[in-house]
């Protein structure tokens, strides 16, 4: 009797190490011989604010009435040395993004949206445009290594100055604005020929190290007659020491950008493998401020992956004075909108994943210098959307703060938080939920 024995087959198995994305990147690299450049921040899963929870009020804590009892959100920046500190109505600012990387319409929309809700926007590499100054009630002027468009008149027109040492997407890296985004206006502002790739330097040309930085800050204060708050922005890598050195150098404000923070154009390998998540960076920075007796005297602005009012509240509870948003602000303007899916498909991508911002072909008209594409963005409507979004973030943060019994969002504290994972507990230095265990603290 013949009986066919059917041998069960194992299913094709994909490697966790060589996953689909990794394989595609190997093939792309093999075909081109050049690394991948893209915009935005890290896309890998990281310990983040989602791994924290608020405890809320209980028998021992007294909540505030939602919609009735006041919960303040204002923040004063720069009172340490500046004669004219700035006051924001909400603790959420717009991060530095350049005209060049973004269209003039997008910069205008950011200014309009931020101004409606009483917060600041920030210039970027490439200098200040009159439109940007005109539409931003509070404008922070970035002082960058490339000094593209750097102009003392603009320095004096700014409400604050941000000395950029680095950014979260690429601590230690410069940038490259590719030729297709170098319109005649962008080229003129940067004193470079039109259409060439423009390298943004990774180091400042006229100083190195913290002792020099102190003298550079002194010069900037002298030039602006000690009126403007001076921020120092660093990418999160060694937050304790960078914060301490920024304070020592005379900063009014420290801006700390985690690796989730976006970029206009950087190598994928840089974005994904250099720097640390913002969750891991806030507590060491706050510790440095506390050790120096400067917490709340030198303000700390943190950024990198802020999406919701819960993220805002968590960052503040960990000790920040304010947060900054970039990627989320662009999404609020209309970046990666599903209504543009057909056009994203033509670019070989899909809504939500589009990150080739450096190529200047953004169908949303945001990360482009193409006049036809840029014209698609209505700065008034987009600005309104940003203002709405900022209002929601603020309301959400207030909701949480009231639930924790706080009359100001700055009264949120680490004791209001617990962590869902051991990693997040160690990084944020708050207990694992349901325990009193903070890994790495008290010898544990």
């Amino acid at each position: 009797m013949n009986e066919t024995i059917r041998i069960p087959q194992t299913r094709p198995r994909f490697s966790a190490t060589f996953d689909e994305y990794t394989l595609s990147e190997i093939r792309r690299a093999a075909a081109t011989g050049i690394y991948d450049i893209r915009g935005a921040g890290t896309k890998r899963k990281l310990p983040h604010f989602d791994d924290l929870l608020f405890l809320g009020a209980s028998i021992s804590r007294y909540p505030l009435e939602g919609y009735r009892e006041k919960c303040g959100t204002n923040v004063v920046l720069g009172a340490r040395f500046a004669k004219k500190p700035i006051e924001l109505k909400i603790p959420i600012t717009i991060a530095g993004m350049s005209f060049g990387a973004l269209s003039a319409q997008a910069k205008e929309a950011l200014g309009r949206g931020a101004s409606i809700v009483g917060t600041s926007t920030t210039t970027g590499d490439g200098g200040m445009t009159p439109e940007e100054r005109g539409h931003s009630s509070i404008l922070v002027y970035q002082y960058l290594p490339s000094r593209y468009g750097m102009n003392p008149d603009d320095l004096r027109k700014a409400d604050a100055i941000e000395v950029v040492i680095g950014q979260g997407a690429k601590p230690g890296g410069g940038g490259m604005l590719l030729g297709q985004k170098i319109s005649s206006r962008v080229a003129k502002m940067r004193n470079l020929p039109q259409g060439i790739d423009q390298r943004s330097a990774c180091r400042h040309p006229d100083w190195t190290g913290p002792d020099d930085l102190e003298i550079k800050i002194q010069e900037l204060r002298e030039i602006t007659d000690w009126q403007k708050p001076i921020y120092v922005k660093v990418g999160a890598s060694r937050p304790y020491y960078d914060t301490a050195l920024a304070v020592k150098s005379g900063a009014d404000v420290v801006v700390l950008d985690g690796m989730q923070g976006g970029t206009a154009a950087t190598q994928e390998v840089f974005i994904e493998h250099v720097g640390i998540p913002i969750l891991a960076a806030i507590r060491p920075a706050v510790q440095a401020l506390q050790d120096l007796g400067m917490h709340r005297k030198v303000q700390l602005i943190v950024s990198g992956g802020i999406r919701t009012g819960a993220d805002v509240a968590k960052a503040l509870a960990l000790g920040a004075d304010a947060v900054s948003i970039g990627t989320a602000a662009l999404v609020a303007l209309g970046d990666n909108d599903p209504s543009l899916e057909a056009e994203y498909q033509k670019l070989g991508t899909t809504a939500g994943a589009y990150d080739d911002w450096h190529e200047g072909r953004d169908p949303a008209g945001i990360t482009t210098q193409d006049p036809e594409l840029a014209q698609r963005l209505d700065p008034i409507m987009a600005g309104r959307r940003l203002a709405n979004y900022l209002s929601v973030l603020t309301l959400e943060a207030q909701t949480i703060a009231r639930a924790a019994g706080k009359s100001h969002v700055h009264n949120l504290e680490p004791e209001d938080l617990v962590a869902l994972t051991v990693e997040a507990a160690a990084m944020a230095r708050v207990p694992l939920a349901g325990t009193s265990w903070i890994p790495g603290q008290n010898g544990s």
Partner: protein, 235 residues
Amino acid sequence: MTNQISTQIVDLRSNPVRELNQALHSLSGGGSSKHWRVLHPLGAHAVAAGLDADVTVEIDGDVGYYCAGMNQRAIVIVNGSAGPGVGENMMSGRIYVRGDASSAAGATARGGTLVIDGNASARCGISMKGIDIVVKGSIGPMSAFMAQEGTLTVFGDAGEALGDSIYEAKLFVRGKVKSLGADCIEKPMEDQHFRELFEKLKEAGVAHEIDVTDFRRYGSARNLYHFHVDNAGAY
């Protein structure tokens, strides 16, 4: 501060730099004194930084970092040597350093003229964006790194990696160049370049001191203007 007939004299032993700069900044709207003399700078930083006025400031002694930084319109004369970043990001006006200058002289400057009688250290004219720099002595390594616009003229020698990653700035060197940086090449000196150099030296008030035919010209090969993997070894 002592008020003399036509010259304001400020002694930095008794008046802080802050007071000096505040007084000089107040001239932006037009002031009576067109000539200022600063005594005993003793290496102070940011002396006469951020000026925006038709005024002459003469500093008797050595200055620290960023003297005349971001200068607009003013003439600043240093009767001594200058620390790093003299005339950094200058927009217009003139700066004369009678002694030597430290590193990053004229860094990122977008206009005006900087004349250094002595030598300039490393990274002279780094990232310059339109300034004309004349160094009567020699310059250090990595000078004119990523230089974008303007001219750098050197009567003496240049250190290694001159003009590394240079854009459209023009370099004229009379002496030896230790080495050229990535994408910087020697270019032929033709009539128009002799004329251009003469005009620049004339503007700086030093044309009579030197023969322009002694100079060689350096600038960008423009091979690195667009990133290409075949050039990766050049970076």
